[in-house]
C-alpha cells in the first residue's frame, strides 16, 4: 500500500463527520469532477493499474483486457460526478465501476464471471482461502473481513475475490444454497456495519 492509499482509506473512515475534508483535495477523482487540468492523467495513473489487475482477476482467460480497461474508463468519465468521498474511497468507487463493467460484459457473453475453472468436488480447502485472504492488503475492508466467522469469511472470499458463484460455493462446501446465500449476505452486512459503525442488531436478528 502506498502512502496515498492510507490517506484515502482514512478519509473513508473519517469522512462522515467531515473531519478530513482538506485531505480529500488531492484525490484524482475529485480533481476530475472539478475539471482540473491534469486530472485525467492523474486518474489514469492512479487507477489504471488497479483496473487492469481487477479485470485480469475477474476475466483470467480473456484476451481483451485492454479493451475492457478502456470501457471502464469511459464509464468512469461519465460517472465521476457521482463519487461521494463520504460513502466510499476513490479506489473503491473505481473498483465498483470496474466490477460492474466486467459483470455486464461477461453476462453479455453469456458466461459466468468465474475466475477459477470450476471443478466440483475439489475444494481447495480453508487454507487456500486463507492464503487468498492474506493477499489482501491491509485496510478497513480486510480488517472487517477478518472479523467475520471463519465460514462467512471463506464464502465471501470465494464469492468476491476468487469469483465462485454462490451455487459453486454451496456445492464445494456441501452446504445448502440458501444457507450460503444468507451467510454471504449477513457477512457483508456485518462488514458494512463495522465499517460504517452501525448497530448490527437488525442484521444479526
Amino acid at each position: 500500500m502506498e502512502k496515498g492509499d492510507v490517506v484515502e482509506l482514512a478519509e473513508w473512515r473519517a469522512g462522515r463527520d467531515g473531519a478530513m475534508t482538506t485531505l480529500r483535495l488531492g484525490s484524482p477523482l475529485l480533481r476530475l469532477s472539478r475539471g482540473e487540468v491534469g486530472a485525467v492523467e492523474a486518474c489514469v495513473d492512479a487507477y489504471g493499474p488497479m483496473v487492469q489487475a481487477l479485470i485480469r482477476r475477474l476475466r483470467p482467460a480473456a484476451s481483451d483486457v485492454e479493451d475492457v480497461v478502456q470501457e471502464v474508463f469511459v464509464a468512469l468519465w461519465r460517472s465521476a460526478h457521482r463519487f461521494d468521498p463520504d460513502r466510499a474511497s476513490d479506489r473503491g468507487f473505481v473498483a465498483m465501476i470496474t466490477r460492474r463493467r466486467v459483470i455486464d460484459r461477461t453476462r453479455r457473453e453469456e458466461r459466468q464471471p468465474s475466475t477459477v475453472e470450476y471443478d466440483p468436488g475439489q475444494d481447495r480447502g480453508s487454507d487456500e482461502h486463507e492464503r487468498t485472504l492474506g493477499r489482501l492488503q491491509a485496510g478497513p475492508a480486510m480488517d472487517a473481513l477478518r472479523r467475520l466467522s471463519e465460514e462467512r469469511r471463506r464464502w465471501i472470499v470465494m464469492a468476491v475475490v476468487e469469483g465462485y458463484s454462490h451455487r459453486e460455493i454451496a456445492e464445494r462446501s456441501n452446504t445448502p444454497l440458501g444457507t450460503v446465500k444468507s451467510g454471504i449476505r449477513r457477512g457483508l452486512a456485518e462488514m458494512r456495519g463495522w465499517l460504517e459503525g452501525e448497530d448490527m442488531q437488525e442484521v444479526r436478528g
Binding site: D5, W12, L32, G35, E36, V37, V40, C43, V44, D45, G48, P49, M50, Q52, A53, L54, R56, R57, E66, V69, F73, V74, A75, W77, R78, S79, H81, R82, R87, A88, R91, F93, V94, A95, M96, R99, R100, I103, D104, R107, Q112, R135, L136, Q137, A138, G139, P140, A141, A159, V160, V161, S165, H166, K181, I184, R185, L188, L195, E202, V203
Partner: protein
C-alpha cells in the same frame, strides 16, 4: 428485517458478485420500488473496497499505448458539469466521452409544458430547475433493461414549481415506431401501484446528453422515486414494469 427486505439484499449481493439475469433484475427493481429508502449500492461499494484492497498487491503498470489511449479519450479540463452555466436550448453532438455534453445538452420534447413559475409557460431548462431553492435531485441508475445499461445523469424536480427536467447520457436511442420511454413518478403519500405518469419521450440517436422536460399529468407532491419504462408507442395508462430502463431514487 422482513422477508422481502432480505430478498432485496440477497439480490443486491448477487448483482455485485455474479450479476443478475433479466428476471432477477426485474424482481430487484420491483423490490426497490417497494423499499424506496434502501441504499441500493451498499453491497457494490463494500465489494468495491475489498476489490481495491486486493488489487493493491497485484498491480502492474499500464502499457504506454493503453495509457495514451485512455488519456486521449478523457474529458477536457473545464468541461466538468457546471450547474451555474445556463444550458443551451439546441441539440449538440459532442465526443462520446466529453463532458462538454453536460453543458451543451440537447433539449428535446419542447412541447407544451406546465408553468415553471407563475404564468411563465415556457419549458424550464435543467439549470433553471437546479437554481430553485426546493430542488430535489436524484441520479439515474440502470433499471435492468438493456436500454438503460449505460445510463448516467440525473433528474431535477421542484415540488414548489411542479416542474423538472431529466438529464440522460448513455440511455439507448429508441425507435419511436417500435417503443417509447415513459416516466413514472412515485411520491410520498401516493399508492406505489399508481405512480404519476410523467410523460412519453424519445431518445434520439447520436447525442451524448439529452434533457427531457417532465410533463406530469397530475400533481406530484414530494417525489420519492423516478422510474423510466420502455413501453409501446404512445405509452400506456398502467405499466407492467416489465422493461425498467432506469430509476432514480430520491435520497431521504
Amino acid at each position: 428485517m422482513t422477508e422481502r427486505r432480505e430478498e432485496l439484499d440477497a439480490l443486491l449481493v448477487q448483482r455485485a458478485t455474479e450479476g443478475l439475469g433479466p428476471d432477477e433484475s426485474r424482481r430487484l427493481n420491483q423490490l426497490l420500488i417497494e423499499h424506496p429508502g434502501v441504499d441500493k449500492e451498499w453491497v457494490d461499494r463494500l465489494v468495491g473496497e475489498v476489490d481495491a484492497e486486493w488489487a493493491a498487491g497485484s498491480e502492474t503498470p499500464l502499457s504506454e499505448g493503453l495509457r495514451a489511449a485512455l488519456v486521449a479519450a478523457g474529458p477536457e479540463p473545464d468541461d466538468a458539469p457546471d450547474e451555474a452555466r445556463p444550458a443551451p436550448t439546441g441539440p449538440s453532438i459532442g465526443r462520446l466521452t466529453s463532458w462538454a455534453g453536460w453543458a451543451a445538452a440537447a433539449a428535446i420534447a419542447f412541447l407544451a409544458f406546465g408553468p415553471l413559475r407563475g404564468n411563465d409557460d415556457r419549458v424550464p431548462t435543467f439549470a433553471e430547475v437546479v437554481a430553485l431553492e426546493d430542488v430535489v435531485r436524484a441520479e439515474w441508475q440502470p433499471g435492468g433493461d438493456d436500454f438503460g445499461a449505460e445510463v448516467a445523469g440525473e433528474v431535477v424536480w421542484s415540488p414548489g414549481a411542479q416542474s423538472g427536467v431529466m438529464r440522460f447520457s448513455g440511455l439507448s436511442a429508441n425507435d419511436p415506431s417500435d417503443a417509447q420511454y415513459q416516466l413514472w413518478i412515485f411520491a410520498e403519500g401516493r399508492d406505489d401501484r399508481f405512480p404519476v405518469d410523467g410523460g412519453v419521450f424519445d431518445i434520439p440517436d447520436g447525442l451524448d446528453v439529452v434533457d427531457v422536460p417532465i410533463m406530469a399529468t397530475l400533481e406530484v407532491g414530494a417525489p420519492t422515486l423516478f422510474a423510466v419504462t420502455v413501453e409501446r408507442p404512445g405509452g400506456v395508462v398502467v405499466s407492467s414494469r416489465e422493461r425498467m430502463a432506469t430509476i432514480a431514487q430520491v435520497s431521504e
